[in-house]
Structures are given as C-alpha cells and as structure tokens.
C-alpha cells in the first residue's frame, strides 16, 4: 500500500487544500502536507533493499480485464531517487513560493499537489496505459500553472508547451496500443503490463526505417525526446521557463524533464534494445549537439532565466549521452545527473525568482555589482553556480565525470566533443555571474526606489537543504549510487534480454557481462 499511498496522497491533499476554510493558514497547511509526503517517501527509502534489481513494494491489480490493463505500481533503483527528488522538491517549492504567488493561492497549491501525483505516478506506474494516464495528467496542472500564474506571454508559452508535448505523447499512445495487440499475438492474452512488454521479441531489421521495432522505438523516443528536451525539439522549454512562475520552473526543470529521460531508461532502451543500439548514434549525436548548442545559445541570452533554460538543454544533453552509451559509468552518471540537474537547476530558478521579486527584472545588462549589495544571496548563487558548472566536490562533477568517462569508453570522439561543454558551461555561467554580481552597481540597483534586502530566514531555509545536498552528493556519491547500482548493472548487462523480476523472483537471465 505504500506506493498507492505515496502516489494518491497528494490528490487527497489537493482536495484538502481546496476545501480548507482559512486562506491565511493555507500555505502552512500545504507545506505541512508536502512534508508528510516527503516523510512517506523516506519510509520507502528506509525499507528499500539496495541489493536486488527486483521491483519492490509491488502492487498489482487487474483494472480493465478485457484489455489486460492493470493497476501496477512498483519501484526499483532507477525510479527510487526520482521519486524522492519529486517529494523533496515539492515542500521546497511551496516554501519558495511563499510570497511570489499572490493570486489564487488555493488553486495553485491544489495544482501543485495534483502535479505531484502525476509525476510520482509516471515514475512508479509499470503498466503502459496506467503510465500514459499519469504522463498526460502531468500536463494539465502545469498548463494551468504557467497559464494562470505565469508572465506576460504566458498563453503563448502554455500553448506551445502543451502542443509540443501532446504531439509526442499521441504517437506514444498509438505505439502502446499497438504493443498491446502484440502481446495478444505473442503471449496469447492482451496485456499492457510493462513486464509483458519486456517479454515481447519485436522483429528488428537493421537498415530500414520501416521495421516494426524501429517504428515503435521512434514513436516512444519522440514522446520522451520532446519532454527531455533534446535538440531540435527544445524550443518550447525556454519559452515555458521564462513565462512560468518560479515554482513552475523549478518543478518543470527539476522533475518534469526527468520524466523524459526516465522514459528512455525504463521504456525505450529495454523495450527496443536492438533499435536503441542501432539508433544510438542518432541519440548520441543529438545529445552532443544539445550540449554544445545549448551552451552556446545560453551564452548570448540577455535574460537570466532563459540562460538557465538553455543551460538545461545542455545538461540534458549530457544525460542523453550517458544513457545511450549503455555502460554502467554512463548510465549511472546519467541517472545521477538527473538528480543533480533537479537540484542545481531547481535552486537556480529559485534564486532567480528571489531576485526577481526584489527587482522585477531578469535582464542581465541591468544588473551589476549585486555582490556588494546582497552578499548572502551571492554566496548561495555562487555555490549553485559551481554545482552547475560541475566543480569537483559538488554534485555536478560526479555526474558529468561519469557520463564523460562512459562516453569515452564507448565512443571516444563523442566524448571529445562533449568535453567542450565543460568549458562552455563555465563560460556562460561565469560570464553571467560576472555581469550580474561583479563590476559597478547596475541600473537596477542604483535606481531601486527602496534598498534591496538580502535573503530572509525563509529564503535561506529554502536554499540550505539544496546546498547541503549539493555537497553531500558531491562528496559521498555512494550514499546515493549504491541504491541504484544493482538496477543499473542489471539493465546494462541484460539490455537485450531485459526483465524486471517481481519480489521473490531471482533475475531470469544470469547477470553476466556480454
């Protein structure tokens, strides 16, 4: 029941928040509820067994018998940390939006909780239709979040965001339905269970686009690639980020993008191993282009938030690279980078939100000399910047190093190109940092009609957990990686013959390196 609890508790919270009679204590209530959710997720972490790649806490009930659609939840080392990332970021976001969300507070928190359910469901559902429901559900609260609480061009951004992601999802739906028919042919009974999908041997012919596995691969990959987003499907992201309110940006960058990369790891790679291997070059190429392109474009952005959005494109390129080299360095690094990006980019968006509340501008050229005015803010921003450009002993380094190493092992030339991202990353972040924080006091700071106040206790409370994680994950990565090791090894070694054992079962195939 633990997973059902964690997935559906936020729905209950959303109801509670909508029905709560007192507007004043609403935020406190929401914060408390989200903390409860976080604690529940920690219970999962406590009881989670790191030694096995098997699914844990499995809940499996028939839902629509005729089509073999099940209510099927389960967790393993790949989804564990993403679940905890989600439950961790929600209270952070609620506390972070304490003063920035002023209208329709009730609705905002309800949407946030609904979004949490959708995201957790996406990470935990192991039935294709069930998964798809959550996947699509996540769009709706986000749509409202950007559309209601967003900036000036919010409607344009929401529509763009919605149509881009919807477009990919629909192809995935077709592919899911097709695969359900395949289960009927292959296994004698229609099923939407991921485990049954894994058993299918989908015919693959190299060299043609029209082979069945290739088509299904691209149908799934497109949906996830748009979400990630990988070049050239990324243009919705900067717009959505710039228009989204701070909490929306944090959740969008912190968790929702991970839904795409998680999809690759859980669905695409094990379901279509031959196609994934055959088309890995394309994914790697797009990943590498994303790294360099995102970094270059980020460098010339005049808007801080847009800069960070493009830096996400660059960072997500690294994750793609790590996943599609299919070795344990790369995949571990990719998974780790998902968490890192969630934390450091989430923190960057929070910080940008804090300064935006003070100056109502995100124009880099209007800033300058902020370090002298807001020292505490500067320190936090600097630490997160270091994490973002992957300085050793911060979390970013471990992920980036493992990804690059895995890439070098598999495809040295991709690593040679990708490593330029290390340089460009430092260039765009530090250049921005210089223009915003150093030099003489900029226009905004000179003209501010009231003195800018440094971070208050609440804002510090928002950032401190993130900073602690930055260093914790950088210094002791094994505390985190150990939980995922068994699952990743299992995936890497049995990629072509993947199955996820249920609790009690031993892995079907011997886990030998190929």
């Amino acid at each position: 029941m633990l997973l059902t609890t964690i997935v559906f508790l936020p729905v209950l919270f959303a109801l509670l928040v909508t029905l709560w009679p007192r507007e004043k204590s609403l935020r406190h209530l929401a914060l408390g509820l989200s903390l409860i959710e976080f604690i529940v997720s920690l219970v999962i972490l406590r009881d989670f067994s790191a030694a096995t790649p098997a699914l844990q806490f499995v809940e499996k009930h028939m839902w629509i018998e005729r089509f073999g659609i099940q209510y099927f939840l389960g967790i393993d080392g790949i989804s564990l940390w993403l679940v905890i990332l989600t439950t961790f970021l929600t209270p952070v976001v609620i506390l972070g939006s304490w003063t920035s969300i002023e209208k329709r507070v009730r609705g905002f928190h309800a949407a946030l909780f609904l979004l949490q359910t959708a995201m957790l469901g996406t990470f935990l559902a192991l039935d294709a239709v069930f998964f798809y429901v959550f996947w699509e559900l996540s769009l709706i609260p986000m749509y409202f979040m950007v559309g209601i609480w967003g900036g000036a061009r919010r409607i344009y951004a929401t529509v763009k965001f919605f149509i881009f992601t919807m477009f990919g999802s629909l192809l995935m739906l077709v592919a899911i339905i097709y695969m359900m028919y395949l289960t009927q042919e292959g296994l004698g009974q229609m099923s939407a269970s991921l485990l049954d999908f894994y058993q299918l041997k989908i015919p693959f012919v190299a060299g043609t686009l029209l082979s069945l596995q290739t088509l299904l691969f691209f149908a799934f990959a497109l949906a996830f690639a748009i979400k990630v987003p990988i070049f050239p499907l990324h243009t919705w992201l900067p717009d959505a980020h710039v228009e989204a309110p701070t909490p929306g940006s944090v959740i969008l960058a912190g968790v929702m993008l991970k839904m795409g990369t998680y999809g690759f790891l859980r669905w695409v790679i094990p379901l279509f191993p031959e196609a994934a291997e055959h088309w890995a070059w394309l994914m790697l190429l797009l990943g590498v282009i994303g790294i360099v392109y995102g970094a270059l474009v980020a460098m010339v952005q005049p808007d801080v938030k847009k800069l960070v959005a493009y830096s996400s494109v660059s960072h997500m390129g690294y994750i793609m690279l790590g996943m599609f080299v299919f070795n344990s360095y790369g995949v571990t690094g990719g998974l780790y980078q998902m968490l890192n990006h969630g934390i450091s980019t989430g923190a960057l968006f929070l910080l940008i939100g804090m300064i935006y509340e003070r100056t109502h501008s995100r124009e880099i050229s209007k800033y300058g000399g902020l370090a002298g005015v807001l020292p505490v803010f500067t320190i936090f921003f600097f630490i997160i910047t270091m994490s973002s450009i992957a300085v050793p002993l911060t979390n970013g380094f471990v992920g980036e190093f493992l990804i690059l190493m895995g890439t070098y092992q598999a495809h040295p030339w991709y690593a040679v190109v990708a490593v330029t991202g290390v340089i460009l990353g430092a260039a765009y972040m530090l250049w921005m940092f210089k223009r915003v924080f150093f030099g003489e006091k900029g226009q905004l700071i000179m003209e501010a009609d009231h003195p800018l106040h440094d971070l208050n206790a609440r804002e510090i409370a928002v950032l401190v957990p993130l900073v602690i994680l930055v260093f914790w994950m950088g210094l002791l990565p094994n505390h985190f990686i150990d939980y995922s090791k068994a699952s990743i090894e299992h995936l890497v070694n049995n990629r072509t013959n993947y199955s996820l054992p249920l609790p009690g079962q031993t892995p079907a195939a011997p886990t030998e390196a190929q």
Binding site: T235, Y329, L404, I423, G439
Partner: protein
Amino acid sequence: MNHSLLMAILLLSPFVGFLINGARYRKNGPNLAGWLATTAIAISFICSILLVADLIGMPAESRRIAVSFFDWIVIDKLKVAAGFVVDPISAIMILVITGVGTLIHMFSIGYMHHDKGVAKYFAYLNLFVFNMLILVLGDSLLTMFVGWEGVGLCSYLLIGFWFTDKDKAAAGMKAFITNRIGDAAFLLGMFILFMTYGTLNFFDLNQLAPTVPEASWLGAATLGTLMLFIGATGKSAQIPLYVWLPDAMAGPTPVSALIHAATMVTAGVYMIVRLNAMFIAAPNTLMIIAVIGAATAVMAASIGMTQWDIKKVLAYSTVSQLGYMFLAAGVGAFGVAMFHLMTHAFFKALMFLGSGSVIHAMHEEQDIRKMGALKKYMPITHITFFFGWLAIIGMPPFAGFFSKDEILWKAMTSPLGHPLLWAAGVLGAVMTAFYMTRLMALTFWGKSRVPKEVHPHESPALMTIPLIVLGLLSIVGGWLGINHAISSILPGHPANVLEHWLGPVLREPSLDGVHHSVTMEWALMGVSVGLAALSAFVAYHFYVRSPETPKKIAESLGPVYRLISKKYLVDELYFGVIINPLIAFSKNLWHHVDVQVIDKTTYLLADLMKGGGSVVRTLQTGNMQQYAMYIGLGLVAVLSFVLMR
C-alpha cells in the same frame, strides 16, 4: 602520532580556518582573521614537518605514507578513494606550500590591514591552501583533479577579490575559463589512461607504464600524457594558455605570490613529475613539453623586458621560469624540475612580496617609471629583493643558479635533450638577467621619479619578516642540489641531497653510456653565467647610467618593439579569432536556428492545420436545413454503397 590523524589535521586545518573566517566574514577584524588563518597554515606546516620527518626515517625505496579516509566514487572498475599520500615528491610540495604559505599569510596581515573584506580574503586564502594540499597529496589523478579545479576556483575568487572593478572580475573569469580549457583536456587524459590501464592511481599507473618507450603518436601513454600536459599548460600558464596569468595580477599581491608564483602554477610541473614513469614512456610527449617549455621561457622573458608594471614583469618572469621547469621535465630531468620548482617558489614569492611591499609603500602605484631610488627608503625590502634578483638571474651561490644551471646542463646532455633547447635556455637566462636588472634599477636604484605627494616608507615588521626568511631561503635553498662538478671543488664534497631524496621514486632516462666531461660542464656553466652577468651589466648601464639609451634602442627596433610590448597581440588574436566569432556564431544560432528554423517549422505545421481548418469551415454555414441535407445525402451515399456492393 598516528599518520592518518596527522594527515587529517594537515588537510583540515586550513579548511577549518576557511570555515571560521568564512562564517564570520563580516565580524572578524584584520588581526583576528589574519592570525587565525596564519595559525591554521602553521599547524599544517608543523604536521608536514612531522610527516616528512617520519618519511626520512623510512628506508629510501619504500618512503610512502598513504592514508585513505573514505571511498569517493566506486563504480564498476573505477574505485577512487579520498586517499592521500606523502612520498618524497609530495613531501617537497607540502613543505613549500605550508611553509611559504605561512609566510605569505603573515605578510597579508600587514598588507591587507586596511581592506574591508579582510576576513573573506583570509577565508579564500585558507581554502586555497586546502585545495592545494588535496592537489599534491591526492593519490590518484581524480583526487588531484579535485584540488586542481579547487585551486582554480580559489584563484578565480582571489583574482576577482576586488570585484567592484569590472576588469578585475573579468581577469578572474579569464583565469577560470582558460584553466577550464586545460581541465577539459585533463579529463580526456584521465579517460585515456583509465581505459588503457584500468586505474587512476599514480603509483599503479607508474607501475603499469610501458617500460619500452612508445614510438607511436597514437599510443595510450603518448595521447594520455599529451592531454594531461595540455591540462598543465592551462594551470601552469604555458603556450598557448598562458594568457590568464599576467591578467591574474589584478588580485592582491600576496595572492600573486602564493598562487601565481609559488604554488598553484607549479601544479602542472608537479603532475608531470608525479606521473614520471608514464611520461618517460612517451618520448613524443616529452619532446613537445620540452619545446613548449623552452619557447615559453624565451617568449615570456622577451615580453618581460618591455613591461612597465612591476607585477606584470614578475608575472611574465613567472611564466618564463615555469617554462624552464617544463623544459627540465621535457628532457626527463624530473628531479631538476622539482628542484627549480622549489627554488623558484622561494625567490619568486620573495620578489612578489617585495613588490607588494613596494606597492604598499607607493600607495598602490605599480608603474616602475614612477619609482626609482627606493633603496634608501626601504632598506629591508631592497636587500631581500636584491637576493631574489641574484637568485633569479642565476648568480652563484644563490638558489636559482644551482637549479637553472642543472636544467641547462640536462637540456644539453640528457638523451632527450638537444643543443637547441640549451641555447633557448641560455637565451632565456640572458633576457631574464636583463629584465630583472631593469626592474631592480628602475625600482630601487638610479634617480627617484617618485611623485612629490607620495612618501615611500619601509613596511611594518609583519611584512618584512617573511621577506627576510624568504631572502635567506633564496640564498641557501639551492644548496640542497649542488651538482657534482661544483661539489668536487667544495670542502667536504656536499652531497646532492635532493637527488638522493627524489632519485628512488623517479624513473628518469638512463644515462648509461653517456659520458660528459667535467670540463664541458664547467664550460657550459661559464657560458650561461657569464652571458647572464653581461646582460645584467648592460641593463644596469642602460637604466642607471644612461637612461636615454633604451628608448633609442626601442625606437630603432620600431615595429618589433611594439609587437613585443603589446605581448605579441596574443590576447587580441584569441579575441579576434576565437572568442568574438564564437559569440557572434552563438547569436546566429539563437536568432536563426532557434527562432527562424525550428520555431518557424513548428509554426508552419500549425499554419497548415489552420489552413486546412479554414477550408473545411466553409461547410459550416449555420443553415440547419443544409446540414439536414448533408445528412440525407450521406444516408443515400451509405445506403447505395451498402446495397450496390
């Protein structure tokens, strides 16, 4: 005491200093913050001495104190621990870092006394020492890389310490990004070595290194070491990545002494010495290192002759001296590279602190054209600077003489050496003697050109004591590595301590079958020292006796002089060829690819949908009877289809 405890204190003491001063950066005053930081480094120095003392007690072949605190990254074959090692190579480094570091911290208390951010300054300085210790003590390339990037970070913070000045902040950024270029190559080097040898541990790598030198350019050892060397060119300011170091002089002067002269910039040399067996296995890489080193030594010295900013002269001098160290490493004389690293740390730290003392006395004036005859105002600074000068131009028996002479000797006689490398080294030495004498003459000697409103004064004891200690070290530092030609004529025949100390842990090219006469050694020594002395004399004559001559020479050289004094326009070249085009290109990517191509494509799709819709909408007339008619026609169509089939 227990080794792991000592090691922990050695490492953590500066870190604790950083935390305390960092947390109280607005409250701690200059004295409190300064002494706290200095004590932290002094504690580390004591720990280093204790560790090295234990090391000396061990048998020569197995001198190694290894401590591992916890596992850092463990995945598959990659097992990297927070492991630290003191062996003869790192022993020299930790003594230099903490020893010279303590002196420079002490100097800073006086120098930074009036600065508002003094606690922050000391916090950064402590953090730097912490990272530098990780760099030199780390037992694997990855642990070293932690310190490697960490010192770069602190360097960034300290160069841009006075961040309200845009140019200073920009200099910090330039340093970090230039270093990052090297770091990217360093990463690749690590990958190449790890994929080939399956480990990143220095000792394992040295063990596994091929014993037969690799002839191919594409061998793992060659490519790996080459990449690591590119990393070193970033950190140690060699061609083509040296451009950040002169700009780095924007930081407070003690920072230049500690980071940009004595310790951080030597990290590249240290890394090569650390991996000596691997580098020896890659003669092609070594050749490149030697050539780059020699070229840097000459080029930087030539720029140094034309600069007017006291710190810029010293900065180019540092680049040039680092070139010597790489020259030594490149000819396989790793021990000598370490030797010069050490002596250079003494005399260059001394000269930077001396320049700091001068700048302090001159109220932040750095232009040597506005100085002169400071000898009488600042006797202690002058005399210590004088020792540093003798050391750097290689006058016996000062420190620089022994190390530089050994480098030139090896450049000539090592199996990997070449007479041209020697010639470049001598040319560099001649130019060094010239610009250093010029600096001395313009600053301390000759006629005073000090503006009337400035009243130079000797610095307080807090600043002069470090100068005196370093001055003494600049004299005696070289006596640790007296070569056997000189040793043979000295009473008691002093041993080459450094060679005995480092010899067992270094794999250097074998000298069997190579015999050089002692006469030749004396002759080469005579040539280099003689030419340097001559050059120094010429410079003295030019700048003290007839100050008009250099101007005339500069004019007669015309464009050549201007090119050199503008630093060969390398910065302009980088900006013009790489940076500005890259930014323009990025803007094009954004405006054209993102906005014009990708977004336009999606709009096109949307417009197609819209267009289709507007065609079909004409059917929707709103006339209900028409709709009914469609229904009827549809019915007829369906029925006729069904019936006619």
